[in-house]
Symmetry: C2
């Protein structure tokens, strides 16, 4: 599986347009997922893209493989960073301001670049790069749709073996195994410094209210302080919800879905709160806008939450909530846009994101739904179509 | 599972001694695994350790959990980086030079720190931090030994289902499932920028000769250009080796082991080359030194390789080899020391590392052995005791 040349061409064009709009002369793409996105390969190297003209892909390891994977014309083997100087200096375009991915580029790497190009001015271009990646092409959408199909199949199978007495980790092992056999890539990429994800979170009862270092509304107990998120040893119990928040990656493209499996009949209070999460999804899907601002979607959800008097348990326990209700997703789990009260990004045709209204009910557990959506000209299309209703396990 | 207070105390003392030796006044520990190592928690925050006196742990998310996980006395909740200024400024010690983990700290994060402390001088302290982590305590060794026991059990089980016609990915799915049920943490942490690992590499025949972006001698085909390392769709065939290079993580502590499963009887040439890898391990184990310099171990291996006329296929295909024969391992897969021809680090009592002499035999596949060792006062102790001989699958 390689990325079609036409895809790469469009992406490079979008990048060059973004450079022009920002009045930046060129960009060095170094982070592996950005590199893969714009060049077709995640082999170690640097992609140099000037505002106009052909990009150059410099590869340290492995050059032969990069040539097979990337449709770009100029692929050059380098031994180290200094090898790129002569070629960059020959490029016949203005090169004063150069963009970099300063959100994740390590200081030591940056310092080496500055030493090599002491006269250049380096500017953080990561937001623009991430913004380009929010709009998925048809080729990408097909992959994400397949991930959506496979996550639904996985959940259909999970449902059959969830039962009282199994631990969260028991559920995790079985789910991972099922997902892998369906073609799950395995690895889940996150961009943000110090963040990480391993498949998802399987959280039973009150353990679903436990927070951690991870920038998601729920975290769970995890296996210990060495990996304090996700499934732990807690056993599933009658009268408790099991929240499964799972990321399925197909050909590297992810969808994110949370569904609630309830062991026995949920208390009425739980169902009532849960229905508010359902309502948020329904109202969002009813918007037939071609595009919508993130903050607007946030406010629509917030209004429903306030009306139902649930603000205090929305998106986290009281005083410890996260400030967003959803996030972009694609090659990375934590893509743009982030749906906060103030985020100005536009969800337009081709944007894929997970909407995850969740409530933290004291002494009982989380009640919420996460669905991955594609924005289309006709509004939101659900890509993770496993039923949104509470799944009762008897 | 939390880290005992006595462990944390010793680690902090080692860090403070290292600061004193380097004439650095304090260090900010930010990277999650360093933070976990020195504080006992990987909750989001900053650990401030002055050369003398009590450390301060500043936590943004999740504070309640950090207090449960970390035995440190001064744990302070912060909303953002600026919250730490007043506390740091009250600390009654000289604070001119401050160490940071510049090998992985993102530029944007670093810039915020510089804005907050405009008069401080920041110095890369990552090498020293990583060096401290190379010496494992008895508490850590117990965890690593358990990982070694479980990887051996896992390989005993794998052996039973390897057969012609299965794909590398089939083997991967089963192995992951077995390992997880034995308590494998799942996630494998790597420190280096742009590197990543998912369990390991299952490589059949010629596919074991395929290189990629990963800084390990072998990489394999992988699932596609989106994850170009590890198992792919190639089917196992009679007359071919299957190299399984697997990382087992127990309570976050890893061991790394490669064994060869050969489908049918290996050709004599293959066995001969393989025996050279065995010889490198045997000679290394016979050294009863209390400590040894990395470069010395490298040169011992090199001498054996040259004597057997195998330099051209050692540690990579001709002209594309890696420059090391082993690496430290612990909470991260890519710890110090790195065993190169010139590395001056000393492998002394308590250092854990993987030694992985591997040969790339054209048209056939890789022949090699990786074993994780603990250096003791009596020399190397193997922690991954699954038999080193070629495992014949009939």
């Amino acid at each position: 599986m390689t990325i079609p040349a036409s895809e790469i061409q469009t992406r490079i064009e979008n990048l060059q347009k973004s450079l022009a709009r920002s009045n930046i002369d060129a960009v060095f793409i170094i982070q592996k997922i950005d590199l893969y996105y714009f060049s077709g390969t995640l082999q170690q190297g640097i992609l140099f893209v000037p505002q106009e003209g052909e990009p150059f892909l410099f590869i340290r390891r492995d050059f032969e493989r990069a040539k097979k994977e990337s449709p770009l014309k100029n692929i050059i083997e380098i031994k180290g960073l200094t090898n790129i100087i002569s070629i960059i200096n020959q490029v016949d375009v203005k090169l004063e301001k150069i963009g970099l991915e300063l959100d994740i580029l390590p200081v030591s790497y940056f310092n080496r670049i500055c030493q090599i190009f002491p006269t250049k001015k380096f500017i953080d271009f990561s937001y623009n790069i991430r913004l380009i990646r929010t709009i998925k092409s048809q080729w990408e959408i097909e992959k994400i749709k397949m991930a959506g199909k496979l996550i639904t199949e996985t959940f259909e199978e999970i449902k059959n073996f969830i039962k009282e007495g199994l631990s969260e980790l028991d559920i995790a092992y079985e789910t991972e195994y099922i997902a892998r056999k369906k073609g799950h890539t395995g690895i889940i990429r996150t961009r943000a410094f110090n963040q990480e994800m391993f498949y998802g979170h399987y959280l039973s009862g009150e353990n679903s209210l436990i927070l951690s270092y991870v920038d998601s509304p729920t975290a769970g107990e995890g296996q210990g302080s060495f990996f304090s998120q996700g499934a732990g040893n807690k056993k599933l119990k009658k009268g408790e919800p099991l929240s499964i928040d799972f990321v399925f990656s197909y050909d590297g493209y992810c969808v994110d879905m949370t569904r609630i499996f309830f062991l026995g009949k949920p208390p009425e209070d739980y169902s009532t709160v849960y229905s508010v999460a359902q309502q948020i999804h329904e109202v969002s899907r009813e918007l037939k806008n071609e595009q919508i601002e993130c903050s607007q979607l946030y406010k629509i959800a917030e209004k429903i939450v306030i009306k139902n008097n649930l603000s205090e348990i929305f998106m986290g326990p009281r005083g410890r909530s996260v400030g967003y209700i959803g996030h972009g997703i694609g090659l990375e789990l934590d893509e743009l846009p982030i749906l906060t009260k103030t985020s100005k990004e536009i969800i337009s045709d081709g944007v894929v994101f997970a909407l995850e209204p969740k409530f933290f009910i004291p002494n009982l557990g989380v009640a919420g739904i996460e669905t991955t959506y594609l924005m289309t000209k006709k509004g939101l299309l659900s890509l993770t179509t496993f039923p949104e209703s509470i799944q009762i396990i008897n």
